[in-house]
């Protein structure tokens, strides 16, 4: 499990302070941390436990229960591929094979250049235009291997522009 540096921890302590008064604050805190540093660092868990007055094991238990939360730093782009039935009916099995082979990673893995992390997802509510994938907060529909390559090209061009 990955940890974060002192500066990151301070940021996390601030996040915890902002949310800990909420009723049932655990998930809001975990979301806020992951939104800000991309994963739930191992050394953040004792802070959460203390703030919410629960054991560290309980924080671990919650983090591991939910597919959305990750304990390792992901690649720059998290690509979620829908495995739901509607997408299956439109060829998502072929699509997921093509994506895995294009990125040379399997689900729950990050490419060696730290660009991409691949995750399965079970329905994005885009079932009228299956198959669907999600990258960041963007949802793409009617994706086939060809369209996926275009989406990927656009992502790479965009990240180059930023540099």
């Amino acid at each position: 499990m990955a940890v974060i540096n002192e500066q990151g921890l301070q940021q996390i302590a601030e996040i915890i302070k902002q949310h800990q008064m909420l009723a049932g604050a655990m998930l809001p805190i975990l979301h806020a941390i992951q939104n800000s540093v991309a994963f739930i660092p191992d050394n953040a868990m004792p802070l959460i436990a203390k703030a919410l007055n629960v054991s560290r094991a309980e924080v671990h238990g919650v983090v591991s229960f939910y597919h959305h939360f990750r304990t390792e730093k992901p690649g720059n782009h998290v690509i979620e591929v829908c495995r739901g039935e509607s997408c299956q009916a439109m060829g998502s099995r072929t699509l997921e094979r093509a994506i895995k082979s294009k990125l040379a990673i399997d689900y729950h893995q990050t490419s060696s250049d730290q660009q991409y992390t691949l995750e399965p997802v079970y329905c994005l509510g885009n079932c009228a235009c299956s198959p669907a994938i999600r990258i960041g907060d963007d949802i793409h529909g009617e994706v086939d291997p060809g369209k996926f390559e275009q989406i990927l090209d656009a992502l790479t061009t965009y990240s180059l522009e930023l540099k």
Partner: protein, 527 residues
């Protein structure tokens, strides 16, 4: 006054490119201020094959163009387009006259795709908050009676009568009570909750306030799945605007009543759609299913009496309080009253949202709205009601959309998702996936589900391995049937309890898909 142009900000509409078209529209309006046009981003009408659907307001009604590409904008937007239908290859005529839309009974979805979803004034101009105003003049018992009279049953899947649930919470002594909206919409093939939250969040908010008045609750939570970033964004804006306008917080609509509302995000766990698991999750715990009793209505969120209702159930309440329970009850058949927002998905040419009174048959629905498969091949199997729903072969497509009719054939209507497969489907792969899904999403609390799903995948793999003698095949099959029985009867909740539905229906109606050599077996080996 400026002249209005509409493009949707709905997730699926955006996935088809409405943002690009919107950027082009803005550019054109800036370059030609004399057009005096204003772009409004609204929900979607649910005709997704026509998205990006551009609508232009004229004195005669809205005119629709679709599917529009950014490069079409310039030719469409001119002085004439604001007066009437124009000659253009993408012009579809008046939106409200399109047969696909006109023939629907949009009670709950009346405003979706029509209004600006985060504009309180627009909502009020379209009969918004009339139900709430009426509700404020009634006693809690009168409100619950209206909902009972409507015959409304929960749209989340279990179809429990909403009025009876509310009565239980109302009957609990005065104390902190909660209204929880189940916006986890985990079923594949469904997107009605998402469309409603993105297209008309105020109707959900209004429904939740009325629920609060009905049972004596002053705090509400919307538990939204994290897979819906756009709905999250819109809900937060809508709540802020409703607070500013005095419809949430202290003294709602100038009354003595208070109601606060918050959105909370789930974290990618299908089981958290099950109401007790959802409550655990809201409390900040692992989403382990609770044994019932106690019912959430008596000991729910933080141990307090809690109404848990699906988005569509709650969003149907303002109609009931506006027009009366009896009016809502007039729609439907048998014990399924009112309307069901059906979602057409999978391999279908015209995927989208069809809200209709209960009673139409699956066949009629597909003929009238679906326009065949996208692949142009024959339809072969239809899964209704999400991943725990049965696969229906063509001989069952004359079943009317009615909770009892579906349960009489071992199927479920669930949340109204209809996923069409063409004749290339491998039903053995679908059965295997049902078990695999249960393995991934089981909360792990009870053995039949947690272990059963793993064994289910194994035995299906053995069955399909291709080197079985007939005796071995029969052994695997009977093991699979036994496993289904154990899961159905031994599981604590419907996750393990209903996973056998898709599996058994595949075995029963598509037996030739389970013989070796399989049709498309390499499909699942790598999963």
């Amino acid at each position: 006054m400026s002249r209005k142009i509409y493009l949707s900000l709905d997730t699926t509409a955006r996935s088809r490119g409405t943002d690009l078209v919107a950027a082009q529209v803005e550019k054109k309006l800036k370059a030609q201020p004399e057009l005096n046009g204003k772009l409004i981003r609204n929900g979607s009408r649910g005709m997704f094959w026509l998205e990006p659907l551009l609508e232009i307001s004229t004195p005669k009604g809205r005119v629709a163009y679709g599917p529009v590409a950014a490069s079409d904008v310039s030719a469409i937007l001119n002085q004439q387009c604001f007066d009437d239908v124009i000659e253009h290859p993408l012009c579809l005529g008046f939106t409200e006259q399109l047969p696909w839309l006109k023939s629907q009974q949009r009670l709950t979805f009346a405003r979706v795709g029509v209004i600006d979803p985060v504009d309180v004034e627009d909502y009020i101009n379209h009969d918004g908050f009339v139900g709430l105003t009426n509700a404020l003049a009634k006693t809690a018992q009168q409100l619950v009676d209206q909902v009972k009279e409507s015959g409304l049953r929960g749209r989340g899947g279990a179809a429990f009568p909403t009025g009876i649930k509310w009565q239980t919470v109302l009957d609990e002594p005065e104390q902190q009570k909660y209204i929880v909206c189940n916006a986890d919409e985990g079923d594949s093939g469904t997107f009605a909750d998402r469309m409603l939250m993105e297209g008309d969040p105020f109707v959900l908010i209004e429904g939740m306030i009325i629920a609060g008045l009905s049972v004596g609750a002053n705090q509400g939570y919307i538990y939204l799945r994290s897979e819906y970033p756009q709905a999250h964004h819109i809900l937060k804006l809508a709540i802020k605007n409703a607070e500013k306008a005095g419809y949430l917080g202290q003294n709602i609509a100038g009354s003595q009543h208070h109601f606060a509302l918050e959105v909370r995000l789930g974290a990618g766990a299908y089981i958290c759609g099950e109401e007790t698991s959802l409550l655990e999750s809201l409390e900040g715990k692992r989403g382990l299913v609770r044994a019932k009793p106690p019912l959430p209505a008596i000991e729910g969120l933080f141990g307090q009496p809690t109404v848990v209702n699906n988005v569509i159930s709650l969003a149907s309440v303002p109609y009931i309080l506006t027009h009366g329970g009896a009016k809502y009850r007039d729609y439907g058949m048998g014990r399924s009253r009112g309307t069901l927002p059906v979602q057409l998905a999978g391999n279908i040419a015209q995927g989208g949202l069809v809200e209709l009174a209960f009673g139409i048959s699956l066949n009629q629905l597909l003929q009238q709205y679906g326009n065949g498969t996208k692949s142009k091949r024959a339809m072969s199997s239809i899964q209704v009601g999400g991943p725990l729903g049965a696969y229906l072969p063509s001989e069952q497509w004359d079943t009317p959309l009615d909770y009892e009719a579906f349960s009489s054939i071992g199927a479920v209507l669930g949340h109204g998702g209809i996923v069409v497969f063409d004749d290339t489907v491998d039903m053995a792969a679908q059965a295997r996936f049902a078990m695999e899904f249960c393995e991934v999403e089981s909360c792990g609390k009870c053995t039949p589900c947690r272990i059963g799903a793993v064994r289910g995948v194994e035995v299906i793999d053995k069955l399909l391995a291709g080197n079985n003698s007939e005796a071995q095949r029969q052994d695997h099959l009977s093991l699979l049937h036994d496993l289904c029985d154990t899961m159905e009867f031994g599981s604590l909740c419907a996750m393990g309890g209903m996973t056998p539905f898709p599996v058994r229906s595949a075995l029963k109606y598509f037996p030739d898909h389970f013989v070796t050599p399989p049709l498309n077996h390499e499909d699942q080996v790598n999963d």
